[in-house]
């Protein structure tokens, strides 16, 4: 996936300012920057959650498009988590996963009942440690469990490109290990992983490439050891 000169305004203010970037498959790209630097907005544009004002987005070998149609994410192989989880609150944990596994056809969905996708959802929920909670409503989960369910939902898409928006915030150490293993597994399978994260140790350990955003622009990018040692990154991001 790559983007060319992407621009997004919010009430006349440039939130994304001519960003051009390429995300490589089989690698984890860490997207970092201070709050309000445009990380989540960039992910929103690339997953069709928001339309871009200018610029082009290239997915695979397809021609550049200005707006990603979210309804095409299933066929384009794009999946994501949300910073605030955005679960289907009054649905069970199992249903949150099942709904993502279902075939995108009204007619077939009317005639398909639960069992067909049960094995796949069991696999996802065991992977995220939520199988025992499968019958609970999503609204009743703890903060960390909600994050994990969001990750499980993204995994259920069986996509090629994954966006994880702060997947670690608020997680217990054992949950962090689970998420870390999931990300490494995706990289091992040759998937494209874009990771927004504030935990620098985690980014340093996992990311193959880091992109630093500041005020909607790319400040710098490169290997973690190089990027995190740069003075402008330390100044802007860490504020020291």
């Amino acid at each position: 996936m790559r983007v060319k000169s992407l621009v997004k305004y919010f009430d006349g203010v440039k939130a994304i300012d001519k960003i051009s970037i390429q995300f490589e498959s089989g690698k984890i790209t860490g997207l970092i920057g201070p709050n309000g630097s445009g990380k989540s907005t960039l992910v929103d544009l690339l997953t069709g959650f928001l339309p871009a004002d200018k610029g082009l987005i290239f997915i695979g070998k397809h021609v550049g498009i200005k707006k990603v149609q979210p309804s095409k994410n299933y066929t384009s192989g794009i999946s994501r988590t949300f910073q605030d989880a955005r679960l289907f609150e009054q649905m069970s944990v199992l249903d949150n996963i099942l709904v993502v596994l279902t075939k995108r056809s009204i007619l077939s969905s009317i005639f398909v009942q639960h069992p067909k996708y049960l094995e796949q959802s069991k696999e996802v929920l065991k992977r995220t440690g939520l199988w025992d909670k499968r019958n609970e409503l999503a609204i009743n989960l703890s903060y960390g469990q909600r994050k994990l369910l969001g990750i499980g939902r993204a995994l259920a898409m069986n996509a090629e490109i994954y966006f994880f928006d702060e997947p670690l915030s608020g997680l217990f150490p054992e949950m962090v290990i689970t998420v870390k293993n999931i990300l490494l597994e995706l990289r091992g399978k040759g998937k494209t992983v874009i990771l927004i994260e504030h935990n620098m140790n985690f980014i340093r350990e996992l990311a193959d490439t880091i992109v630093v955003l500041e005020s909607g622009r790319i400040l710098t990018k490169g290997e973690p050891s190089e990027v995190l040692a740069k003075k402008e990154v330390i100044d802007v991001y860490l504020g020291t």
């Binding site: 979210p70 309804s71 299933y74 955005r86 649905m91 099942l98 709904v99 995108r104 969905s109 939902r153």
Partner: protein, 288 residues
Amino acid sequence: MDYFIHLAILVSIYSILSLSLNALAGYTGLISIATSAFMGIGAYSVAIMLTKFDLNFFLALSLAMIIVGIIAFLVDLAFSRLRGDYFTLGSMGIVVITSGIFINWQSVTNGPAGIANIPRPNLFGFELSENWQFLCLSIFLLILTYLVCEWISNSSFGRVLRAIREDEKAIEVFGYKTSKYKLAIFTISSALAAMAGGLFATYAMYISPDSFIVSESILVITMIILGGLANNRGAILGSILLVTLPELLRFVGLPSSIAADFNHVIYGLILILLMMYRPQGFLGEYRI
């Protein structure tokens, strides 16, 4: 005995209406006020086909459901951008328009006087003239509607509808064109409301524009909220309670001049109390 059969028939008809609205409001989160409009179009279609064209009841009922399905499909195409409160207000517009048509298209609907002498359903040459016979038919259609709604609710389709209710933008990102799903359930729900309308027309044997006004839709909304949204048994329970409640009030001894209006006061009070103390209703699985 005939009195109880009469109540049971009304419960059946309102249960079909409640189930139809529950599929839309309970599962998909689209609160529609157009129920009475689609019920009315169904009732008028059946009445006209029976009185003017002498069609078989079941053929007329099927055609009425198809007609309403097509109308609902076209209406929802226009509504595809409306969400939440905007959808609800838009649906109220449909009732206003259909009421206007029922009153003013005199050559077809007979205007405010309505259509009288609608024949009872005829099953293979056997007219269901007795109320208990009609009750069997209405219970049969209620069971059919219940099974359809249960099937929808347990299918993958029903799960997508619930996800739309919970967070439409989020489910879109997972590759769903939600407008198609909303269109499908709006069409199905409206066709079921038309079936209730057809039943009502042949039971009462007389229809007029007064039977298909906004307050009828409000009554059905109250029924599904009282019984419990997103629960088909709840929709039926709500219908039983709100059809029988006014009958119980008769025994309180209220003067008949105020009894009818008093019903509306009670429906309003029930809605207010439910929203304050039990927004999910008696059997509800979904809290507004």
